[in-house]
């Protein structure tokens, strides 16, 4: 009747034993290393989603299979999680009994002196002319800092058991518990963290962390719904980039002003110099300067005399020369009929070069700074497809509208600042100048301080547990006992390294030498 529960119990017990065995932990460690590797070799959705799509497109069924198996989201995949959860269960199973044992040993006395010290890995022996008591007093003196216990033995012999390096196990436990703590705070951090990116014009434009809709992209943790973000606002005053003669960036600086907390109520703005390695930390969030680019400004003067100004950020294509591409889109003013309005849209799309040169008629840039700003653009008129219901990039026009004939290219021209394009219908487009934009990242992670704290404990624990050796040392002083009245004593020293032997030999040699010399010196004094 009761054989079934017993069988279940036995199964559970064996599973637990198997899981917490060192061999299992070792296998899990290898599995963890193996499972983490694809994340470095294959594109990852969390880092670069377009690259993943490209990879899947390039590799057909193989790419799709990898995708279904979670190889493009390795660190969120079931198998990766399974491995580290098992590893940590195994770790806990290993740590619990060790902690109990540790607490027991903390109070225990050093073990009895073995009968035959010469069988110890380290051993030394000498006969001296001092008495047993003097030998032991000398040994006690020398073994200060060791945990000692002195025992009477048969035949008038006395011995000292000494032990040292208890901190090794302390360090070891601290290390492993800190590892657990780090994982837990990392996991909690992932639940409550968020990061969002936004492009802000560096002309005094403002960004407020008041809601998800203010961001261009937003990655929330599992427990973040986008409401209740930390409140603060940032105003980007300007952007300065300085470069080496070869175009390599030397320094980026975005002077900003921000307000958070009480300042939001009083309208106080505080200045801050935002730099690449120097995020703004305010209201529990961090604001980073991620990148920058240019915003060409165009004025469209319609035949009826109305004007529209457009300033949209263009996207740098070349990270060194900042040759950028983009599209600035316009609605015609003064048209009330929605159908008419939709069909009379206009876009200026093409390339922007901060330092423009056209070696063979094609515009390119030879420096990232604004030395000779120039654009090479196509002007499109017609329906941009903004109301088509499909999302479209702000950096390009929807080519399918061109293919459909709804949008027509009316002119292609290269412009320097101040120059203009005259369209056949009398519209004039002027290239007015160039602004700059910065892309900012707002990041929130409530547990990262805890993670750091555990990381420090990891280092301390690891250093302690690897630097300190647990070792035992015994000294036995036996009267020669052959009726010799002069009180000669046989001194024996034995040593045993509890954990790793490496290095104990040297220490034992010098220690035993000193102990035996001290015993001899006792006679002389």
């Amino acid at each position: 009747m009761d054989s079934r529960p017993r069988a279940v119990l036995a199964f559970l017990r064996n599973t637990w034993r198997g899981l917490t065995a060192m061999r299992t932990a070792l296998s899990l460690l290898f599995l963890l290393a193996l499972a983490a590797m694809p994340g470095a070799l294959l594109p990852q959705r969390s880092l670069n989603a377009p690259k993943v799509d490209q990879y899947i497109a390039d590799h057909g069924w193989w790419g799709r299979l990898l995708g279904q198996l979670g190889f493009f989201d390795v660190y969120a995949s079931v198998w990766f999680s399974a491995i580290y959860v098992l590893l940590f269960v195994s770790l806990i199973g290993c740590l619990l009994p060790r902690t109990v044992e540790y607490a027991r040993q903390a109070r225990a006395k050093p073990v009895l002196t073995p009968r035959r010290l010469e069988r110890m890995p380290h051993h030394a022996r000498s006969t001296v002319d001092t008495g047993v008591a003097d030998v032991l007093a000398g040994a006690r003196q020398r073994l200060r800092g060791w945990r000692l216990v002195e025992r009477e033995e048969a035949d008038g012999a006395r011995s000292i058991s000494a032990e040292r390096g208890f901190l090794r196990e302390t360090g070891n436990l601290v290390f492993h518990f800190a590892l657990l703590g780090l994982l837990v705070s990392f996991a909690i951090g992932k639940m409550y963290s968020y990061e969002g990116q936004v492009i802000v014009q560096a002309d005094g434009s403002e960004f407020c962390n008041s809601g998800v809709y203010n961001f261009d992209s937003f990655k929330p943790g599992l427990r973040v719904d986008g409401t209740d973000l930390d409140q603060f606002c940032v105003k980007v005053k300007d952007f300065h980039g300085s470069y080496l003669p070869n175009g390599q960036a030397k320094d980026y600086l975005a002077p900003i002003e921000y307000q958070s907390g009480d300042d939001l109520g009083t309208g106080t703005w505080r200045p801050y110099d935002l730099r690449v390695n120097d995020p703004l930390r305010t209201a529990g969030d961090r604001v980073y300067l991620l990148g920058h680019g240019y915003t060409p400004k165009f004025t469209v003067k319609y035949p009826d005399g109305q004007t529209r100004v457009g300033a949209t950020q263009w996207k740098p294509d070349d990270p060194i020369t900042l040759l950028s591409e983009g599209a600035t889109k316009f609605d015609r003013p003064g048209v009330t009929d929605p159908e008419q309005q939709r069909k009379s849209q206009l876009a200026v799309a093409g390339l922007f070069a901060p330092s423009g040169v056209s070696p063979n008629g094609v515009l390119t840039s030879n420096f990232p700074e604004l030395r000779a700003p120039e654009v090479a653009v196509d002007v499109y008129q017609g329906d941009l497809g903004l109301d088509s219901g499909r999302g479209q990039s702000i950096f390009t026009i929807d080519q399918s509208m061109v293919a459909k004939g709804a949008l027509t290219k009316v002119k292609r021209q290269q412009l320097k600042v101040g120059e203009h394009i005259d369209l056949p219908d009398g519209t004039v487009i002027t290239f007015d100048g160039v602004g700059q934009w910065v892309s900012l990242e707002v990041a929130h992670d409530p547990t990262q301080t805890y993670v750091l704290g555990f990381a420090v404990l990891i280092i301390l624990g690891l250093g302690t547990s690897l630097a300190i050796k647990r070792r035992r040392l015994w000294v036995r002083a036996t009267p020669t006992g052959d009726g010799d009245p002069s009180g000669r004593t046989v001194v024996e020293v034995g040593g045993l390294a509890r954990t790793d032997q490496a290095g104990y030999g040297e220490e034992f040699t010098s220690l035993s030498r000193e102990l035996l010399l001290a015993a001899r010196g006792g006679r002389e004094s």
Binding site: A36, R275, I459, G503
Partner: protein, 320 residues
């Protein structure tokens, strides 16, 4: 700060000379390795337990008596002297590079490789004082020389300031610590490989019959590998944590599974496995040595493949 091209040129000369001196030292080590006496198992054991055993008061000294060195041994000693000379030139090259560029000399892959090799050789010299393994010098210098040649020929970059993302005091701490730890780990990697050869030979004298008897005893090699790893591993951990702290202030998160971070994590896990393997029955010896070699292979993979082939936030190789 402008780059001082004179100093940069001197630095390049010192680098080339260091590599040349290492090659010469390597040849000398090889002479000792090839023509020196065969290490017997028993004799080696004695060296290991020096100070243990039944010592009374006089610990066994190195064979005393008239110092009569045979010729191969003289070559070995010259090789060590040459290695020291190489290290001095190597240090000079890095210092000059730093002065030329007006920053710490580990801002691109060429400089990183140079520092990595320097630490490897210095670690070797330090271990040489503790273990009787001089004739292994050639095996340690082979990868060092190869890395230096790859660095000098394939990855060379002119001295220049670094990009804004690297302008942080963490560059001084994180990169130097990681580079030092990786350089140190080269030594146990090589030694573990030799351990596998020697252990195979001790189990079956027919295997590697020519090479293995001239290697130090297996347990000396094992201990040397372990002690170096045990020193380098916490340092490496510290370097990773410094990297995470820097990533938090430069990239917006302390850990993001960037290819370099991932591979560094994998290497960390493998070395952790090595330390556990050495304490697990059935895993000591050859298996643990395989794990150590695997760990170093991951470090090298991380240095080359991840820097040059994949694209990630750590793409600072300056090659291209």
């Amino acid at each position: 700060m402008p780059v001082n091209t004179n100093l940069a040129t001197f630095s390049d000369w010192a680098y080339t000379s260091a590599a040349a001196v290492y090659i010469l030292a390597m040849i000398f080590y090889l002479v000792e390795q090839a023509f020196g006496r065969v290490t017997k198992r028993a004799q080696a054991r004695e060296l290991v337990t020096a100070g243990g055993g039944d010592t009374v008061l006089d610990e066994p000294q190195a064979p005393s008596g008239p110092v009569e060195r045979d010729r191969p041994e003289r070559f070995g000693r010259m090789a060590v002297a040459l290695t020291v000379l190489g290290v001095l030139l190597h240090v000079g090259s890095l210092v000059l590079r730093g002065l030329a560029a007006g920053r710490v000399p580990w801002g691109n892959m060429y400089e990183y490789g140079a520092l990595f090799c320097l630490v490897a050789v210095v670690t070797w010299l330090v271990m040489l004082r503790k273990f009787p393994v001089r004739r292994l010098g050639a095996f340690v210098l082979v990868p060092v020389v190869i890395l230096m040649l790859i660095g000098g020929m394939g990855l060379y970059t002119d001295a220049a300031p670094v990009q804004p993302a690297l302008q942080s005091y963490w560059l001084v701490i994180h990169v130097s610590v990681i580079s030092a730890a990786s350089g140190m780990l080269l030594v146990p990697g090589v030694v573990s490989l030799l351990f596998m050869v020697r252990a195979a030979n001790e189990a079956n004298p027919g295997r590697f019959a020519r090479l293995a008897p001239r290697l130090p005893a297996a347990d000396v090699l094992d201990r040397l590998a372990y002690r170096t790893t045990v020193f380098a591993f916490p340092l490496y951990t510290f370097g990773l944590i410094c990297g995470a702290i820097w990533a938090e202030s430069a990239w917006g998160r302390f850990w993001g599974w960037d290819p370099k971070e991932t591979t560094a994590f994998v290497a960390w896990v493998i070395y952790a496995a090595y330390l556990h393997a050495r304490a697990t029955a059935g895993w000591r010896g050859t298996r643990a040595a395989v794990v150590n070699v695997l760990g170093f292979a991951t470090m090298v993979f991380n240095l080359f493949f991840v820097n040059l082939v994949t694209t990630g936030l750590h793409s600072y190789a300056g090659v291209g």
